[in-house]
Structure formats: C-alpha cells, structure tokens
Symmetry: C2
Subunit: 340 residues, 2 copies
C-alpha cells in the first residue's frame, strides 16, 4: 500500500481506469453517491481506497470557481487581542462550514500587501483585514474584483468597505478621564505609530478628555512613540523615561496591555514594588491576564470575540447586503493599577 508510488498523486482518471468506469462516474461517486448504482459505487470506492486517492482541491476549485476559505490578516499573532478576535471569526465561520487562513502582517504594509495578494490569488471568498496603515486603496481594488472585504478593528468611513470596529477615541477618552479624575494632570501615553489608526485615535480621545476637563491637551498628554507594540518596547520606553531629566510621570496610559505589562516589568526592575505601586497605569484591550498581574491592570475592554464573530457575519452576508459599519463601544475596567 505504502510501497512505491509516491511520485505522483493519483488522479480521478487513474481511479476510473482501475475501477473500469468513466471519470464522470467517479466524480459522481464523490459528489452525488446516491445517483450511482450500489454495485458500481462499491467498485469505485474500493479503487479509491486501493490507490489512496485524495481529490485535488485545486482542480476542483478551478472548475467550480468558488471556495469556502476566508483570509484573515491581523497585525500581530502574538497579541491576545487579535487571537481572541480570530477566535470569534473562526466560531462564526465554523457555523457556515468555512475555514480560516490566518496571517500576521507585523504592522508592515509590505507584508500586508503580500498576504492580500496571496489570498486573492488563491481565490478566497473574502478577507478580514486589520489594516496596518491608512491606505485602503488595495483593499478597495480587491473588493472591486469581487472578493468580499471587511475591515477589522478599523472604521471604513465612507470608503465603501464594511467594517467592524470599536470607538477608539471614546476608549482613549475613557482612560484619560479616569486618570484625571484620579488627580493626574500630566500623563505619558506610550503609543504606536500614527499610521496605525487605533494609536492615533486613542491619543486624540485622550487629549479630547483633557480639554474637556479644562487642561491643555498637549501638556496633559505627552506622547512617547514606541518601536513596537509589545512588552519589550514597553520595558525599553519606561527605562528611557526613568533615565530622562523629567523622570517618570505619575501616570502612564499604554496603547495596549502588552505594553503595560512591559511598563510594570520595567518599574519593578528599577524600583521594586514601591515604585511599581506609585505610578498609575492604564492599559488597553483587557487581555485575559490583566486581572492577574502583580498589580492588576486597569484597562479598556473591547468586545473581542464579538467583533470577530460579527465581522465574519458581515462577510458571509448575501452578496446583495449593504455596506455596513459596526461600531462597538469600549468599556473601562478599573483595577488596582490606577488606584492612588
């Protein structure tokens, strides 16, 4: 059985020859077994087993045109926020017997472009994309060629794409308003590149909250840009702050929880638990372990699973369905990290 062969996959016509029937009949056994006579069917099935034949999905797809795979491009596969979203997508797709191909663009527009191209060339039925930059042209082009596209975690505005997102300005405002209420008037925000819309929007929201409280927005929220959005750059940035002439601020707003974890790590490294407890920290995403940290993290929660689920829903909607913008509201979860 596993003797030689190997060189080449058996094809439907090999099976047909072995079973002594026409290729069409084999195809029928595969796809509409009920219309072929039991005896013939048995013979064909035996031949299939004998040759350990696996239908070539590529050829099938070429002929049939359609397929049930959805491409998902996220910014960073290691960020629990995205895997939670992906999970929501997967759960929804499973209901429709579709499958998911996941890729991670690493915030890199070139990689994003490459993956989009790859997915499109492979004829996916649709794409769910967390765009790495503000440029939606490629996505619009892809959509104009008949691939369904839904933006994830970014509002599409009037661009003509559907989207599922969270109001990031509101999230930034929630975080800042909370810190102001706790008495902090000078906050450092550890942020990512403004090419990442979420980062820009959260800053805008934070400054808006500062204005609303009668503070000078620029002075109240000082931005520090990170190289990346993970815990390592959180550590790095915090150490740099500590070493700077101004020293550490009384409060730090982090663009996501991983960064906040890094901040906590750096503070502990520098000044132990005392220092760690003296700086107020607010994160973003409310990842699973935010509540289990040494100092449980105040964070802005987004309905991750639901976002993914809903996005997949939009993608699977009938062709005729309208372009739709779904915007979820974020929610602040207060924990010890922002207590006095």
């Amino acid at each position: 059985m596993t003797t030689e062969a190997r060189r080449k996959r058996a094809s439907i016509s090999d099976v047909a020859r072995l079973a002594g029937v026409a290729v069409g009949t084999v195809s029928n056994v595969l796809n509409r077994p009920d219309i072929v006579a039991p005896a013939t069917r048995a013979r064909v099935e035996a031949a299939i087993k004998e040759m350990s034949f696996v239908p070539n999905a590529v050829a099938r797809q070429l002929r049939v045109g359609t397929i049930t795979t959805v491409g998902v491009v996220v910014l960073d596969i290691r960020n629990p926020f995205f895997t939670e979203v992906a999970r929501g997508v997967e759960d929804r797709l499973a209901l429709a017997d579709h499958t998911l191909m996941l890729a991670s663009s690493d915030d890199d527009p070139a990689r994003e472009r490459k993956y989009l191209q790859l997915f499109e060339q492979h004829g996916v039925v649709g794409l769910l994309v967390v765009p790495s930059g503000p440029d939606l042209d490629q996505l619009l082009e892809v959509q104009s060629r008949g691939v369904r596209v839904v933006l994830l975690d970014a509002p599409a505005g009037s661009s003509g794409l559907s989207s599922v997102s969270v109001d990031d300005e509101a999230g930034g405002a929630l975080a800042m308003a909370h810190l102001i209420e706790r008495g902090h008037t000078q906050v450092v925000m550890l942020n990512g590149s403004h090419d990442i819309r979420q980062c820009a929007a959260r800053l805008v929201g934070a400054r808006r909250a500062a204005s609303a409280a009668g503070l000078d927005p620029e002075a109240a929220v000082r931005e520090v840009q990170l190289r990346a959005l993970d815990s390592a750059s959180g550590v790095e940035a915090t150490l740099a702050l500590a070493d700077a002439p101004d020293g550490l601020p009384s409060a730090i707003f982090c663009v996501n929880d991983l960064v906040a974890v890094g901040v906590q790590r750096a503070l502990r490294l520098r000044g132990g638990t005392a220092l760690l407890e003296s700086v107020a920290i607010v994160g973003y995403d409310d990842i699973d372990i935010a509540s289990e940290l040494a100092v449980p993290l105040t964070s802005v929660r987004q309905p991750t699973h639901e976002m993914g689920y809903r996005a997949a829903d939009l993608l699977l909607a009938p062709e005729s369905a309208e372009i739709e913008q779904v915007v979820f509201a974020p929610e602040l979860v207060v924990r010890a990290s922002s207590a006095r």
Copy 2:
C-alpha cells in the same frame, strides 16, 4: 475603473485579446519579461493594468503542481505557547519566501482531521502538526502521498515522521523535584486528557521524580483532570478542590500557565492574597506574562520560538533529508509562586 465589471475576474486570454497578442506572450510577460520585446511588453503591461488583471493562482498551481504554502495545525490559537511557536515557524518560512496557513484544532481529533484534509487537498508543500491524539495514521498516510510532515511538540518515535519536541517527562520531573525540595510531599497535578501526550508525559515525569525521592508516586502526585486547558477550567478545578472534603493541597502543578493563572484567580476569589500565597504553584510554558503575575509564576520553560523555527527548517529540508527527531530540554524558572 471601478465602474461595472465585477462579475468575473479577467483571465490571461482577455488580456491577450486586448493587447492583441497570444496568451503565451502574456504568460511570458508575467514570468520571463526579459525574453519579450520591450514594445510588446509595454503593450501587454498596459492591458494588464487596464483590466486590473490578477493572475489566478489556482490555475497556476494546477498546472505547475507546486506551491509555497505550509499548513500549521495547533491545539489552541489562544495559547501563547502555540502562537510563539507559530511565530518561529513564520520567521523561518519568510526566509524561504513561503507562507503559513494557521488553523486551530481545539484538541478535537475530528477538527484536526478536517484541517489536515483541507490542507492536503489544497496542495500545501508541507504540514506542521501538533497532534491532538496519539493516532498518527492519518499523518503517515498524508506523508506517504508526498506531503512533508513534521510533528510539533510531540516526539514521533519510530513512526517514520520527523518531529520537534521538548522532553515533557523531564519537564514534569523538574517541576516535581523542585516542589519536593521545597518540602511538598503531596501535590495535586491539574492535568489534561492523557490523549494529549504532553499531559500524560508530564504526569509520568512528575511521578518519576517522586519515586526518585523515595515517595509513593501515586500518593505524592494526585491527578485531577480538566475539561480544557485554559484559565477558566483552572478556576473551576481549584474551586472544586477547595470545596472537596480533603481541601486544598499545599502545592499544585499545572499542565500549563493558563491553567495556573486560573488557579491563582480562584485562590484569590476564595481566600484573598493570604490564601494565594499559601499554596505553591508551578506552571508550564513560561509564557510572557508569567513573571508579571500577582504572584510571579514558577514555570517550566520551553524554547518555543526555536522549536517553531527548527520545525520549519526540517520541513524545508531537501526531499532526500533523513527523518529526524529533535528533542529540546526544558528548563525550570523559579519565581515567587513556589517559595515557602
């Protein structure tokens, strides 16, 4: 440009017609631009742009046979251990200009089977699989049909597959020996199904360490089986232990860090920080945030990124390469959760 069309992708012959050349010429422009006369090439390129033609990768693949996609099946995409491994895979594949399709089997052999089938039908060049059960038959079959297969996080033994794994018995032994040294002679292990090899092996290792220390292995390591390997079931199991007649043990060994996080959460729920600090906990995987928890977690570290990288390496090795078993050694990282 984005006017109507939509109905159908342009094909190479549409382009050929528009440019007034033969299909073969268009194909040449696409794949070997240097051999076509500049004037012709320009004309064809204009036609391609005009029709916003995207080559159909499916047709190409059917003809050419080969492809540069690798399928990866992990147990749970939300587990940082697996995403870190996936990251290592991705990094290695990127060097070879290959791409990764990720799927999550959810510990469910049926789902695993489905994904394997899907990937194989799509003609992936290879598969990296974290098997959900002990049954490798399907994988062997797939391999016998010419798809390269590498087992991830599971030793293939003499089955004829390549594999990259960590010595889980050694890991279990490390954890238990450490707890014994700290004076714990009755440990509860929160474990997953023995169908998951890692779970079974870690228990075996723990009991081996108990024996080596002169303890009765069965009594020293009491096993409690979990429904799933996430923090929620850690919470659930811990609450059940607390409510049981025997009460909580002095030490808990968790089959992974997520479970350990759940244990900590449950302990805090039940008895606050005091209770939390009175129970020794050892986790497994040393995920990024293990060191940042309320009580930093002692954990068994595995070289995740390197495992993924190495596995991809094996997969990309020349056809002729030998079957190879790579076994990494785990390492114990001691933190506060297992202090007295």
